[in-house]
Symmetry: C2
Subunit: 200 residues, 2 copies
């Protein structure tokens, strides 16, 4: 049971990497087999079907994202520091071209109009992400860092938008100012949510 699990993990790791380039629907069993140095049928034995492979890759990407972004953020103090940590790790995840996060952005665009199990899972993951952001932001409210009447759902929407913009500007356009713009937008979001809204 040990050997199988090892290759299975290698497959999924490589799968996330490949899917981050060509998309989750562009992911091909033959190509992934070649990338991992095994035969098509050998790989297919692990991934019982194409859709199952996509779901497994998606699950792997989710875990990688949680490990790289969510979990580190939750170890920092509640409130604004935690929100900042979340943002920082998220940006780093994009800057270092860590495939996990990018795969989610890509898959979300790919499957927003294609019903099926993959889309259903993506909806769950994105809903979870929004709820996590809103929850982290809410700790900032209870800590008194943010306004009482600030809307966590609205903040989650806005932060997600900032990150989407960052990914696009950074990866597609290669804009060297992408990160600076994202940081500025993020600070503006925090400024708007803080009780003392003193600007320069």
């Amino acid at each position: 049971m040990s050997k199988g699990d090892a290759t299975r993990q290698a497959i999924l790791h490589r799968g996330v990497e490949t899917a981050a380039r060509v998309g989750l629907s562009g992911l091909t069993i033959g190509e992934l087999a070649a990338a991992t140095g095994m035969s098509k049928s050998g790989l297919f034995a692990h991934a019982k079907s194409k859709e199952s492979l996509q779901l497994q890759v998606l699950a792997q990407a989710r875990e990688e994202f949680i490990d790289a972004v969510i979990r580190p953020a939750l170890t920092t103090p509640r409130g604004e520091p935690r929100v900042r940590s979340l943002f920082e790790h998220w940006v780093t995840c994009g800057r270092t071209r860590m495939p996990g996060g990018c795969l989610f952005v890509k898959a979300a665009a790919e499957y927003d109009d294609r019903p099926g199990a993959v889309r259903d899972q993506l909806v769950r993951d994105h809903t979870d992400l929004h709820e996590t952001i809103a929850h982290v932001f809410r700790t900032g409210i209870t800590e008194g860092h943010f306004l009482d009447d600030a809307d966590p759902a609205e903040f989650a929407f806005a932060l997600h938008g900032v990150m989407l913009g960052f990914y696009h500007s950074y990866r597609l356009l290669g804009d060297p100012a992408a990160e600076a713009h994202a940081r500025q937008s993020f600070e503006d979001l925090l400024d708007a949510a803080r009780p003392t809204s003193d600007t320069a």
Copy 2:
């Protein structure tokens, strides 16, 4: 020369529609031929190659987007009204599921890591879009609607992010509050750029 142009237009129209669902790389000559009711080879005679078809569809989408969003905005008075008009038409473009705009979002995610002519064109289009937004915003500065030291490029980045977030929340998650969140984010952007920053 008339008949050919008519079917060519029909092909591209249907192509934009299809590509908005399955993506620009997921667009298939056979499927598009079936959708337009013609033979694979008949359609292929128009689109000299797959890549050429993708570029033509992209050009069609660009024109549709310009007609639906950019051009109407440019007919409204300079300054904040024009910025608002741009936003309104953009949101409408997404709400009515007009394929043109959505195709751009999808294609941008698809090709951010796949070199080639399609990606190059996408970069040009997105750069143009950012510059257009920044330019429209700049008219607001010269009109005195926005702060002199506001950064048009930063505003373009932020607005693009808001729209990306809107598309994702609206199309993938089906969140009924997506538009309200986008509107709120947009108003926050304007508030931050306005000289008199009086909040409720």
